[in-house]
């Protein structure tokens, strides 16, 4: 609203504003006084300071009064405005000049309640919030439009103008019942001027929230459940009491138990130690055999099926077909000193490794090979002394008797667990009658009266000793002592010490239990009896050098075979002191063996590396097969053994190799079958076959006698 009054004075325009308010309140009459006061106050501090150019006035002049009249006319307003009037077609002065001067204008951001715009806005608001509207209707008195002024808000609009307008109403307003004001005012929103209203707000960035926590693992828990009742409790107590009773008993036998426990523990330890290996041993063994079967498939086929076809055209001669060759790296420098087939497992044979050379004695080794695995022995027993001989028990095929170069005899038990297997189950000691010279042959005998196993051994010290396995020791008893002249009487033993003969081989009669032959180093063969320790039944002047082997024929009870380093093999009838046959093989004969399938077939090995196979029924003078079987010329063959079932032989040499040969058909010839005639078989036939041969030879003797 424009200011209705203007103050005409010399004061600056700013002061006018300041004065304007009180002036409007107190009306025009008081204006002068007010003004004067204002001046006085303002001039107080500087009363004496006068501008230099101030007019000097006299008293009179000062007291002179000037009258000034304040009008509502604007002094700046033009008073002589002329406008062209089209009606009268002339310029005319305009009488009414606008006297209003506007000093200050501020556009409000709110609208007066009574204004059209405010009303419209309110109407719109009512529509949107019907609820409040409904409430309002409940009290009809409160009707908003009827209230001319609702707020003090309008105060802000234009201070001076509002003041004027309201002057009269202020009282009324205040007297107005608060109820409407208070009730509505709260929910009444200010009506905004939409063209000049801005809400100012600024939003600051909220600091991001961060969560930090840590969780520990709860202590582990578990469930437990049980039922307690009288009978459960009773049973538990009874059980406990029983246990206590037992403990008492135990304490009585505590000392004894303790030792047992210790033993058990020890056992457990050894068991657990070997456990990791033993688990796979069997599997590995099977695999090894499978691999070998694949690698040596051709040999296995030969072994089973190959028959030398050329034999048919050769009439009498036969050949040997080499099959597997066995060797063991750790026994490379040793020579084969003994061979023996296992009677129960026909694929298994034992090989004794040692040395015949006096200057090269050292360790020995007992190996057991199977034909199913030619690359590696099934069992290996290293020994401190060289092995000279061995024999596998006929029935208890896990027992192997072994004779050593140092005079010991021992028994190995193949059943024993791997851990303790390196040591023999039994071993003779110096105290218990061990030989003083190399043991040349050992042989199992039938169990004695008390069912103890026993075997015999022969050594260069001239003793034949019987060993009996009792509990865990070997008990010895001398069977015979050899002498040059004959069996040595006990009492003369000491005196005639030098005359002791050296035994090198022996063999027990297969049928007559007490009868056995002993071959000696000086070439004699003694026929002895277990019953007489002091006497020989017979002595044969057999050879000129050491007798390397004597063997009874397995069919004919009277016939035996001997071989010697003097190049000869001789066949004897033990009732006759001269040999029935003599064969010269042109080299020292290492070993000789009867075949298990024919009474007239035997084989010998010589140091020149040849195998000689004889069949007396075919050729009485020459070998039907004479075949060198060694790779190197100087290799000497040492031993030969026939497999008890299969037509194969194993031959050992002094380089540690054992070779397996298959006999060709001619070497195991059966008597020719005649048509319509059944071929007789069996030991009787074999015996008769031999007898027939012998009878031819004996006749001249009988005639001569």
């Amino acid at each position: 609203m424009p200011v209705p009054t203007t103050v005409k004075s010399k004061k600056p325009p700013g002061a006018g504003l300041k004065v304007a308010k009180p002036a409007s309140k107190k009306k025009d009459e008081e204006e002068g006084v007010d003004q004067g006061d204002g001046w006085d106050e303002w001039a107080q501090g500087k009363a004496l300071i006068k501008p230099p150019d101030q007019l000097e006035l006299t008293e009179e002049e000062l007291k002179e009064e000037f009258t000034k009249i304040l009008t509502a006319n604007n002094p700046h307003a033009p008073q002589n405005i002329a406008r062209y009037s089209f009606k009268e077609r002339s310029y005319k002065p305009i009488s009414s000049v606008d006297q209003m001067a506007v000093h200050f204008v501020l556009e409000g951001n709110l609208i007066h309640v009574d204004s059209e715009e405010a009303r419209r806005q309110r109407a719109r608001q009512d529509q949107t919030d019907e609820k409040p509207a409904a409430e309002a209707e409940a009290e009809p008195d409160e009707e908003i439009p009827e209230n001319p002024v609702i707020e003090e808000t309008s105060e802000i609009v234009d201070a001076a103008a509002a003041e004027d307008a309201e002057e009269a109403e202020v009282l009324g307003e205040e007297e107005r019942p608060d109820s409407v004001e208070a009730q509505i005012g709260k929910k009444e929103q200010k009506v905004t001027n939409q063209f000049n209203f801005s809400e100012r707000a600024s939003q600051t960035l909220n600091n991001p929230l961060r969560e930090r926590s840590c969780q520990t693992e709860p202590p582990p828990r578990c469930n437990f459940s049980a039922t307690a009742n009288q009978w459960v409790i009773y049973d538990a107590y009874l059980e406990e009491l029983e246990k206590q009773e037992k403990n008492k008993d135990k304490q009585k036998t505590f000392s004894a138990k303790k030792e047992e426990d210790k033993l058990k523990k020890n056992k457990m330890v050894t068991e657990t130690q070997s456990d990791d290996v033993t688990k796979v041993v069997k599997v590995v063994k099977i695999f090894e055999r499978m691999v070998n079967q694949n690698t040596f498939d051709d040999i296995a086929q030969d072994f089973k099926y190959f028959e030398d076809a050329s034999d048919e055209f050769r009439e009498q001669e036969g050949t040997l077909l080499p099959l597997w060759k066995f060797q063991y790296d750790k026994a490379k420098r040793l020579s084969v000193t003994a061979l023996c087939w296992n009677k129960s497992y026909q694929d298994l044979f034992a090989v004794g490794m040692g040395s015949y050379d006096f200057s090269k004695q050292g360790h020995g080794m007992l190996l057991l090979y199977t034909l199913k695995n030619s690359t590696c022995p099934e069992f290996v027993y290293p020994t401190s002394s060289g092995i000279m001989c061995l024999h596998i028990h006929d029935r208890l095929s896990h027992l192997v008797a072994v004779g050593f170069y140092d005079g010991c005899v021992a028994v190995f038990d193949l059943k024993a667990e791997e851990g303790g297997a390196a040591q023999p189950a039994f071993k003779s000691t110096a105290k218990a009658g061990k030989h003083t010279d190399p043991v040349w042959q050992v042989r199992w005998q039938n169990d004695d009266m008390d069912n103890n196993h026993n075997f015999y051994s022969i050594s260069s010290d001239g003793r034949v000793v019987s060993w009996t396995l009792i509990k865990n020791e070997l008990v010895f008893s001398d069977v015979i002592k050899l002498s040059l002249e004959g069996a040595l009487p006990e009492c003369l033993e000491v005196v005639e010490q030098p005359s002791v003969a050296c035994g090198t081989s022996f063999d027990f009669h297969p049928k007559i239990d007490f009868l056995f032959l002993v071959g000696t180093e000086e070439g004699k063969i003694h026929k002895c009896s277990k019953a007489y320790s002091s006497q020989f039944l017979e002595t044969y002047q057999a050879h000129n050098m050491a007798v390397d082997a004597v063997k009874w024929n397995q069919f004919h009870p009277k016939v035996f075979l001997s071989c010697s380093s003097d190049w000869t093999v001789k066949i004897w009838d033990h009732t006759i002191r001269t040999p029935m046959f003599t064969f010269d093989l042109n080299s020292a004969v290492g070993d000789v063996a009867w075949s298990p399938y024919s009474s007239t077939v035997f084989a010998a090995v010589t140091t020149d590396g040849k195998v000689h196979v004889f069949d007396l029924s075919i050729n009485k003078y020459e070998a039907i097969c004479q075949q060198p079987v060694v790779a190197k010329k100087k290799t000497k063959l040492t031993h030969i053994e026939f497999n008890p079932i299969h037509p194969i032989i194993v031959v050992g040499d002094d380089r540690g190799y054992v070779t397996c040969f298959k006999l060709s058909p001619n070497l195991r010839k059966k008597p020719k079958e005649k048509k319509g005639q059944e071929v007789p078989k069996g030991p009787e036939v074999e015996e008769a076959k031999m007898e027939k041969l012998l009878s031819l030879l004996r006749e001249p003797d009988y005639n001569s006698v």
Binding site: F224, T227, A228, Q230, Y234, L241
Partner: protein, 106 residues
């Protein structure tokens, strides 16, 4: 066993023989087990006729000694399945007719 005369004698025997504490199941450490067992025996002997007081005593003592949240059940016949903190359970019989189960679970 059936005869009354012998039955009485048996009963006396039973009472005498079965008075010792018999630990049925526990996973406690040796030291703790012994202590707990002795505590149970003491409590059961002290409150021979009031299992509730005995249980309360055991529980409070255990809370003091081994940290809180122990639970104790004492009775002549009950079944239970509880979750306990490992190494904190003892289930024992005592006096021939009482079963005591003490466990910790918080």
């Amino acid at each position: 066993m059936a005869e009354t005369g012998e039955g009485k004698k048996e009963e006396a025997d039973y009472k005498r023989l079965h008075s010792f504490p018999l630990i049925r199941h526990t996973d406690m450490a040796e030291e703790m087990r012994v202590e707990t067992m002795e505590l149970c025996v003491t409590a059961c002997e002290k409150f021979a006729t009031n299992n509730e007081s005995a249980a309360k005593m055991i529980k409070e003592s255990m809370d003091k000694k081994f940290g809180s949240s122990w639970h104790v059940v004492i009775g002549e016949g009950f079944g239970f399945e509880v979750t306990h903190e490992v190494k904190n359970l003892l289930y024992m019989f005592f006096g021939g007719s009482l079963a005591v189960c003490v466990w910790k679970c918080s």
